[in-house]
């Protein structure tokens, strides 16, 4: 095994969180030598995405940009009483794999979480009393407030050139924006993208029944935009090949179009691609470095003063477990925290509150679009509506998006009763593909005692290390939530849109890992105010190992009814700031 020269900072996983932290530290602390390990390849606008990305089979269906499941996957079961099986192919979620992480091929729906969501348990217990929450829910406060995060949300939005309309500027409500959002210190850096027809029909329908629709915030740059780091995004072409694809126009904000080129330009960041971390080395008091397999599969050990783990939810959790860091969560004994509070979201395609509408006389051109190209309403997100007389808690953002529906996966859905094949199917796809719209609630997934991650006792990755095992199912709380929203919110909006056909659903069968739903998977290394109830503090610092920071959605105590990446970005900026301004000087646990 080769001995590699010691470095100051070692980052594991070069996605949104890792890219932001690398860039901030490189810019702000010029003395640091920074190395990043990334298991996937380095792919950029040029030479990669510019020429080959309009291919649904290769990228949309065969998932070329995602984690190679042949090497590493997860195992899954709905409950402890079952035995887990590997997810052999995609798959509910699609982890990223490559420099830039999953945001290379994300949609770009970019939210801030609601202010009270950072004190969710306190908020709900104060409003409804201590007995309101189901006994088995383990939601908790984060240990950081919206006010503390606001400047970092702003920094993330400026850097990624987010396009939207503010609903609340310094406490003053703004027409046309989201009236429920937390106060912003400044407007979005770019105006909303040009929004396709289907979502505007949703906007009109929602407004007609009394809601306040607003443009869904988007990381698809509507115009050429130069960010505070001097990085320039191209203008979105609305080509419709967005989620699952790299952007040919350099218009999708991702680490590869923003923070990573900026970090590399400092000359102080080295990215080792095709380098797969398998252990955080430590002596019980501090992390000493990381052991990884290099591009040819050989074991290497890189020592460092500071280690940042930003390998996304599943690998963050697995690497802590593989390294014996923290105590593994045991749901029966109620001990340990690593692996606890695994959360997901209801809603995308299979289970959840979902509405499809079709019009004989309206051409919605679903093939055009950009990843985040829609209108949303927030009246039924989280605790924005009164749950006093309801038998559930939580909710979600409701949006109609037009990301571009390529036809292998997106020729449907078809009106109820349409045949699945044969001449009748052919007629139906001919009639309805371009005359439809789809809207859904992105439903909150609270944390529960019985939903968690640990190491699988049987299945291993290509290098022989145990896979991560996910034990997860919905509960009656979410079943009641999606039923209520479907019947009371989606139905009236669908009717107000005056479609020829509609199909509104509010079912939530057992969680099924086989169809794609969303890559919004959180928890496992959650943050909090004490080592008793969390793995890291609100800066992502591991309790007891002050030179190891964890960044990304694995630190979220529970999942919101929003896409997560805006908050991943804001927290990463806050972590980088704490390291640069305080930890590098003083070390130790940050208060």
């Amino acid at each position: 095994m080769a001995t590699l020269p010691h470095v100051d900072v070692l980052i594991v996983g070069m996605g949104v969180a890792g890219g932001i932290i690398a860039n901030e530290l490189a810019k702000r602390s010029p003395g640091l030598k920074i190395v990043a390990l990334e298991r996937g390849p380095y792919r950029a606008t040029w030479p990669d995405f510019i020429q080959d990305h309009f291919d649904e089979w290769r990228f949309g269906v065969q998932s070329e940009l995602h984690q190679n499941l042949a090497n590493v996957t997860v195992t899954f079961r709905n409950k402890d009483a079952q035995s887990a099986r590997p997810m052999r192919q995609y798959g509910a979620f699609k982890p990223g794999n490559g420099v830039g992480g999953a945001a290379v091929h994300w949609n770009g729906v970019s939210w801030r979480y609601l202010p009270y969501f950072f004190e969710y348990r306190t908020h709900l217990e104060t409003r409804y009393g201590k007995t309101f929450l189901p006994e088995d829910t383990t939601i908790q406060d984060w240990g950081v407030s919206y006010e503390e995060l606001e400047p970092f949300y702003t920094q993330y939005e400026q850097t990624f050139g987010i396009a939207g309309k503010a609903g609340n500027l310094n406490g003053a409500l703004q027409p046309g924006g989201n009236p429920f959002e937390g106060p912003r210190s400044t407007e979005y850096p770019q105006p909303p993208v040009t929004i396709a027809y289907g979502p505007t029909l949703f906007r009109d329908g929602a407004a007609k029944v009394g809601h306040q629709p607003f443009p869904q915030p988007s990381a698809n740059s509507p115009a050429r935009y130069t960010n505070p780091d001097g990085q320039t995004l191209g203008a979105c072409n609305y080509c419709g090949f967005c989620a699952g694809y790299g952007c040919h126009a350099g218009a999708k904000a991702s680490p590869m179009t923003t923070v990573i080129p900026s970090a590399l330009a400092t000359g102080r960041v080295e990215i080792r691609q095709l380098s797969n971390a398998f252990r955080i080395d430590h002596d019980g008091k501090k992390a000493t470095g990381v052991s990884y397999y290099d591009a040819s599969g050989q074991e290497q050990t890189q020592t460092a003063d500071l280690v940042v783990l930003s390998a996304w939810t599943l690998e963050n959790t697995r690497l802590l477990l593989l390294s014996g860091i923290g105590e593994a969560y045991d749901p029966a004994a109620g001990t340990g925290n690593v692996g606890r509070n695994y959360t997901y979201q209801t809603g995308a395609v299979v289970g959840g509150a979902i509405a499809n509408v079709w019009w004989e006389d309206k051409l919605t051109n679903r093939f055009m679009g950009s990843g985040s190209n829609g209108y949303a309403i927030d009246e039924f997100n989280s605790d924005n509506f009164d749950h006093k007389d309801l038998d559930f808690f939580g909710g979600g953002s409701i949006a109609c998006n037009n990301p571009g529906s390529a036809p292998i996966l997106g020729s449907g859905p078809l009106p109820p009763g349409s045949p699945r094949w044969g001449a009748g199917w052919k007629q139906a796809v001919h009639d309805w593909y371009n005359r439809s719209a789809f809207f859904t609630m992105q439903g909150e997934s609270p944390a529960y005692r019985q939903n968690y991650m640990d190491l699988d006792p049987t299945y291993r990755d290509a290098w022989g290390n145990p896979l991560l095992r996910i034990t997860f199912n919905w509960t009656d709380n979410e079943r009641k939530m999606v039923r209520y929203i479907a019947d009371n919110v989606l139905q009236p909006i669908a009717d107000a849109m005056a479609p020829t056909h509609k199909d509104v659903r509010g079912d939530l069968p057992d969680f099924d890992i086989t169809p794609y739903q969303s890559t919004h998977v959180q928890g496992g290394t959650i943050m909090g105010t004490s080592p008793e109830t969390s793995v890291v503090n609100s800066h992502g610092q591991v309790w007891g190992l002050p030179n190891l920071f964890v960044a990304g959605g694995s630190t979220f105590p529970q999942n919101a009814g929003y896409n997560p990446t805006g908050t991943v970005g804001a927290l990463a900026y806050r972590t980088a700031d704490a390291i640069a301004s305080r930890w590098l000087k003083d070390g130790g646990m940050l208060g």
Binding site: L69, P86, I195, T232, F367, N373, P407, W421, K426, T514
Partner: protein, 293 residues
């Protein structure tokens, strides 16, 4: 230090220019060599229709401005297997007044090419370590069997169902009978199927006998149907560079214009029909079988 450089981000206009240049170069360099004469008369004819050009005088006649006609043929399937699949796929997507069906659109060529990659499943990379113990439906298929193997057995099953019910092979029975078999498979009838239901060797006059197929092997019928439908629709709708969707027949059926650089000028025109030219990634890359835009 290995320092991968990102180019200066270009805006859409620059990207577009670069793509056009690439396409022009591609078409020039490759097109000049002349189209290869092949038996690919159908795709070429369909392609010519796309461009509104006259059909070629003779199959394989080099077309001005066209890139090389690509050779078509089966790399994974035997002629018998291809014939059964063609018949089955054609029932799933039949030719009718709305346009070509699966057969004419080259769906089986698409499937055949996918079968050459033994590692992939429908959704791409496949975790292939044991144990391979069946689980709950929510945990997904756990079989080690490759897609190629599933097709091989499923084709024998289709043939066997046709022989045992109707006394003839699948490709020879009427469309209505083919449909009846497929509709049953969709309902899980029979539960599993494969070589066991074969009555005679698959191809009349073929050397060998039923014994060559022993021992019997079977797969779940409903899962095979779902897989067949997924691959058939994928072959109908995937970019023609993958071998199916000839003449962009699948895209034309539903109104999907294909590999477009974008719709910046269209996205705000609500409810208007897109009037641009449909194009394949082949057009974008300069392997133009007709000129886009």
């Amino acid at each position: 230090m290995d320092d991968p450089q990102t180019p200066t981000p270009a805006d859409a206009g620059e990207m577009r220019a670069l793509l056009h240049r690439r396409r022009f170069l591609g078409a020039g360099a490759l097109g000049a060599a002349g189209a290869v004469a092949t038996a690919a008369a159908i795709p070429l004819a369909l392609a010519q229709q796309d461009a509104g050009l006259a059909a070629p005088e003779a199959p394989g006649t080099p077309q001005p401005g066209a890139g090389p006609a690509l050779l078509r043929g089966y790399v994974s399937l035997s002629p018998f297997q291809a014939a059964v699949l063609e018949a089955a796929c054609e029932r799933l997507i039949p030719a009718d007044d709305l346009g070509p069906g699966a057969k004419e659109a080259g769906v089986v060529v698409f499937i055949d090419r996918q079968l050459a990659n033994e590692q992939a499943g429908f959704r791409g990379p496949y975790y292939r370590q044991g144990p391979f113990t069946p689980g709950e439906p929510t945990q997904g298929d756990q079989s080690i069997m490759t897609v190629r193997e599933r097709f091989r057995i499923g084709i024998l099953g289709l043939e066997g169902e046709a022989q045992s019910r109707f006394g003839q092979g699948f490709a020879a029975i009427s469309p209505a009978r083919q449909e009846a078999i497929l509709a049953d498979l969709e309902q899980g009838k029979p539960d599993t199927f494969g070589s066991a239901s074969l009555v005679t060797p698959p191809t009349e006059g073929a050397p060998g006998s039923l014994a060559d197929l022993a021992p019997p092997v079977a797969i779940p019928a409903r899962a095979f149907f779902t897989m067949l439908l997924s691959y058939t629709q994928a072959g109908f709708f995937a970019d023609p560079i993958h071998g199916g969707n000839l003449g962009m027949a699948g895209w034309r059926l539903i109104g999907f214009p294909g590999a477009q650089l974008g719709y910046a000028g269209w996205i705000g025109k609500h409810g208007e029909e897109f009037t641009g030219t449909y194009q394949s990634l082949a057009d974008v890359q300069g392997f133009a079988h007709h000129e886009g835009e």
